[in-house]
Amino acid sequence: MNGFVEALADGAVVAKRNLIKVKRVPDLIVFATLSPIMFVLLFAYVFGSAIEIPGMNYREFLMAGIFAQTVVFGATITGTGLAEDMQKGIIDRFRSLPMARSAVLIGRTTSDLLNNVIVIVVMSVTGLIVGWRIHSSFLEALAGFGVMLLFAYAISWGMAVVGLAVRSPEVVNNASFIVIFPLTFIANTFVGTTNLPGPLKAFAEWNPISAVTQAARELFGNTNPQFPAPDVWPLQHPVLASVLWSLVILAVFIPLAIRQYRKAVSR
């Protein structure tokens, strides 16, 4: 069998196994959807009454930001899942089998992507309930979700490296929380970046999460042409910037993750 096809076939077997786990232990996905619902409600009703976005209904502005934050957090399950499999010796089992070295990672990132799709669906419904609307075409909206999922998929590979290196699901969780929270807040996700102090503003404007959020906003039609995005390249070309960011992250972390997997030995 061709190596790549075999890796995909093995990856599908692993992904199926992960999805069975999600079905049997739904806690993870339940909490993964409950927290963004909570975020939507908190921001829409608590901050929404205080934050002014010029030319925009805050709830419309908010949704792309929450989507972006949520799928990035969703990608952290890749790290915790792999760390847990390491801990339980399952990775040892996989590594003793004649399967492709990339298969476990392909399977893991794929099932986590599907999880993210489920989460996005639930969130979209919540958003629609609180007054979010898509003002673009169906295809553009689909592209908006696609950009976010591609980015989340790329983050998954980064989390895979972390999960295999750290080996403890709790540590992966805490570590990613510390990194991802500021990353998703120092961005255009929940507030406009215009009034941020200098260094934070620069960071926010070049933060890939800002590009992804801006891309989704534009593709959902949640922007006001009267109030254009800041004049920096990634926010002027957010879709292209998001895709580029995603590809760069994939190009860096796929080889790193596979290398880490080859050496991964549980203790």
């Binding site: 069998m1 075999e6 093995d10 077997v13 692993v14 199926k16 196994r17 069975i20 786990k21 049997r24 232990v25 339980k88 010796g89 399952i90 040892d92 089992r93 996989f94 590594r95 003793s96 089998l97 004649p98 399967m99 298969a103 050496k263 030995v265 203790r267």
Partner: protein, 323 residues
């Protein structure tokens, strides 16, 4: 007969810790090799190197005629590994676990299912086949883990402490299963810290300590290396210890050892059961009251103690854990 496992001068370091320090090992096809050693001796490291899980620093190794580095992928098709911790997925059912492993060995959809059913039957797990593994007992998990190692009918099977943590009954059951397997011609490398287990299962035993094989042979050969039989007795009163020693001196072939606290006397002897009669007569002549007397052959525990200077079940060292 060809050799199923050959390792020459394997070295594996973790920073400054040397886990394998020039390990040599040869296991003929169709036999069981018992790798015996305390925690931290390097047993698990050796298994990981031989099953391609771990890169090593020097030496070479081949399993089923395939080099563990160069032919790693092909080698994995021919081996089975059952680890120290039952590496089965708790949220999957027993059947799903085995079916998944079959698919990953590329047996194909239908053959994987059939093989899974077959193994569940053989390991007495049919009733539990469609239940999640988290409800399984420790013994059932180990059996399932072993079944997973057998999915592709491996020619060489690695069992890393297959009975550690099992209750005595499950352990006996596991032993039966392993014996049955080997009767079918599979070569087995078994690591254990239970001397009893090596004694019962292994054709050849390699005693390993600090990453090296320090003695090798059949269980009988190893015991002979330590010394032959000995007469062990416990006398009723500490006053009798000294007189026991002098009474039995004519039978001893080496120095008699005495434990004053427990009134325990050990006399190295050679000559079989007749000696026991002789000893009882001598003690009776001195009117010494004997609580317990027996002719004992050395256990592998004695072998271990003699060879390594420490008992087989010493506390865990950092080596195995930390590395």
């Amino acid at each position: 007969m060809a050799d199923a496992i050959v390792a020459e001068g394997l070295v594996k370091r973790y920073g400054s810790v040397v886990a394998l320090d020039g390990l040599d090992l040869v296991v003929p096809e169709g036999s069981i090799m018992g790798l015996l050693g305390p925690n931290g001796a390097g047993k698990t490291t050796a298994v990981r190197v031989l099953t391609t899980l771990l890169e090593f620093d020097a030496g070479r190794a081949a399993v089923a005629g395939l080099d563990v580095v160069r032919d790693a992928r092909e080698l994995r098709r021919r081996i089975g590994l059952s680890g120290q911790y039952a590496a089965v997925d708790e949220t999957l059912t027993g059947f799903e676990n085995l079916d998944m492993v079959g698919r990953l060995y590329h047996l194909g959809r239908q053959p994987s299912r059939e093989r899974a059913r077959e193994l569940l039957e053989r390991f007495d797990l049919v009733d539990a086949a469609d239940r999640q593994v988290k409800g399984y007992s420790g013994g059932m998990r180990r059996r399932l883990d072993l079944a997973a190692a057998l999915v592709a009918k491996p020619v060489v099977l690695f069992l890393d402490e297959p009975t550690t943590g099992l209750d005595p009954r499950s352990r006996l059951g596991m032993w039966d299963v392993i014996e049955e397997l080997v009767a079918g011609g599979t070569t087995v490398l078994l690591t254990t810290q239970y001397l009893e287990e090596a004694d019962r299962l292994a054709d050849q035993i390699a005693v390993i300590d600090h990453g090296q094989v320090i003695a090798e042979g059949t269980s009988d050969e190893l015991k002979a290396q330590v010394g032959g039989e000995r007469l062990e007795l416990t006398v009723g009163s500490s006053r009798d210890v000294a007189s026991t020693r002098s009474a039995l001196a004519p039978l001893a072939i080496a120095e008699i050892s005495v434990d004053e606290r427990s009134n325990h006397v050990v006399v190295p002897v050679s000559g079989g059961a007749d000696l026991l009669v002789e000893a009882v007569r001598l003690l009776d002549g001195e009117s010494i009251k004997v609580l317990d007397i027996g002719l004992r052959r050395p256990t592998l525990d004695d072998v271990f103690l003699t060879l390594t200077g420490h008992a087989a079940q010493d506390g865990q060292t950092d080596e195995e854990r930390g590395a």
